[in-house]
Amino acid sequence: MSTLIEGLFNGISIGSVLLIAALGLAIVFGLMGVINLAHGELMMLGAYATFVVQNVFKPLGEPWFSFYIIAAIPVAFIVSAIFGLILERGAIRFLYGRPLETLLATWGVSLILQQFVRSVNWLLIICLGIFCLLFFGGMQLLKSRADWESMRTKIVSLLLPLAAGVAIAFYFLLSQNSALTNAWFSARNVDVTAPAWLRGGVEVLGFQMPYARLFIIALTILCLMGVYWFLQRSAWGLRIRSVTQNRTMSSCLGIPTAKVDALTFALGSGLAGIAGCAVSLLGSVGPNTGQNYIIDTFMVVVVGGVGNLLGAVIAALGIGILNYLIGSGTLALFLTTISAPQSMIDFFLFFATSSMAKVMVFALIIIFLQIKPAGLFPQKGRTAEL
């Protein structure tokens, strides 16, 4: 019995991570109809940001190090939000209304981000900085010219290779310096160690509830309440809801829809960052961390019904719990203790690895969508309610 409760509890904590990530994905999809395949990588960036914050706090010694995780949450949010903002401003806004191209572009970005954390070093950062300074700085300077509109393409086609050339030249010039070319993280996984107060756990009904997982659940509840408050009570939340429900009329009312899009995308990405911060407490973090969660996150959005908070909560917990109960073999074990038929036990034993569990959950979701194609709580009409 206690193994079953333990399984439930662990499933809920994994579901919580999925829920934070799915919230961001669902808000963005509801507003812009954009499916962001790089969402998992934004999670991964949040996890790496947590790792960096941990390393920054380590030399500070004890009273401080205990609280690095508190500082890591906003840092992860901001890092992922900034990357999300760059992604929206740099690519997605040119592709609105073209879902296939958006899908391809965000997939490309997800690959770039994976490679980025593998090979990022000071040299790369310096060269990127030089490029941005030359290119965007030059654009800003030339923008004040009277004939900017007509010269635009010419200026860009001149400035782009120039800035790229200088940046690449710097790269080769400095590449002898090994202090600069040491990769920050390398391709191997890194580990975030939970601070002392998150290790151990409380004993409930004869099993250990790890503090780290309780912390994740609490964090999820906070995020849910925060998102709900922001969307329902704040001025920007009202704008976001308005644009989600009627984009053209919102713009005729004077709402700057481009700004709303950018802000919403940053918010969704920031939530992915917080999810990444939570993920780092569950296991080691690598460039592929995002890939492990993105499919499940999509499943939560699909099953929950797009743009529905309650649906997302139920779907996230359901998928998290099923995945864990089946994958860890808890269900098979439980069936043995209540002496269920042998064939049933064998069936669940067959699926008792994490990848086979995914197969089974996936099959269940497909069956579910046959019965309820629009998810748990289908929207009436075209509008999404949050």
């Binding site: 009627n246 053209t248 009329m249 009312l253």
Partner: protein
């Protein structure tokens, strides 16, 4: 530089609120608006009439910036708004009440009204309240503030749409068939409200309308056929012939 100067000097009088010149608008390859010229003097009410499908809504959408013209210019006050996005046009002082009302459905009536404040040039403060004049014009809204916009009846939604447009204190009110599909008693209420708005604020109005009674309230009319303006003049001179031809009575 030379071109813009000549356009400005072409516009003789500066007391025009809106001036549309030589507008050509397409949906894909189909040519909808043909060389449309139209102007609204400051403080006047201008009515655009024409049968269904001639392009009245298309013209209004182009004025709001929802459609971009292939040729032509739109001046609001003394500046060209042809290149501005809809939100910038709203902020510069155009209040739009579209055909079909377009109330934000899953947002409360109060929040729908608050959203009208977005059009104020200085933007919306977080804790703003709804001025009492709005409820004097449309008393029915006061009792429905917490209802969802989408749950209101057609007539109530129309009143809400006009009230929402007024929240931003526009200089030009653009109304697209505000009495379409609404029961007669409410039509009279809406007419009276529009009349009162004009008397109290001196706002300019561009109205698309099918009801002769309402059309007669306007100072001037423009009649549209197949995407072009074919007649215009003072509504006092609106002859039976013109009415027969352009209004679906």
């Amino acid at each position: 530089m030379v071109i813009t100067e000549s356009i400005i000097s072409d516009r003789q009088s500066t007391d025009l609120m809106l001036q549309v010149s030589n507008l050509n608008v397409y949906y894909g390859e189909s040519h909808i608006l043909r060389n449309v010229d139209l102007s609204i003097p400051a403080g006047q009410m201008v009515c655009l009439i024409g049968r269904n499908g001639v392009g009245k809504t298309t013209l209004l959408k182009t004025i709001m910036g929802l459609l971009s013209p292939r040729t032509g210019n739109i001046f609001f006050g003394d500046r060209s708004i042809t290149k501005l996005t809809p939100d910038r046009r709203a902020k510069s002082g155009i209040g739009y009440v579209p055909q079909g009302r377009e109330i934000i459905p899953r947002v409360s009536v109060k929040d729908n009204l608050i959203l009208g404040l977005e059009a104020k040039p200085e933007g919306r403060k977080s804790q703003e309240s709804i001025p009492e004049e709005i409820f004097e014009l449309f008393p029915v809204l006061k009792t429905m503030l917490s209802r969802m916009g989408g749950d209101l009846s057609g007539g109530q939604q129309q009143q809400l749409a006009i009230a929402r447009a007024l929240m931003g204190k526009p200089r030009l009110l653009v109304l697209d068939e505000p009495t379409e599909g609404i029961q007669p008693s409410i039509i009279l209420e809406i007419e009276a409200a529009v009349k009162r708005i004009i008397a109290e604020t001196g706002i300019s109005v561009l109205l698309v309308e099918q009801h002769l009674h309402f059309v007669r309230q306007a100072d001037r009319y423009y009649a549209m056929q197949k995407g072009g303006i074919v007649a215009s003049g003072s509504t006092a001179e609106l002859t039976q012939e013109v009415i027969q031809q352009f209004l679906a009575v």
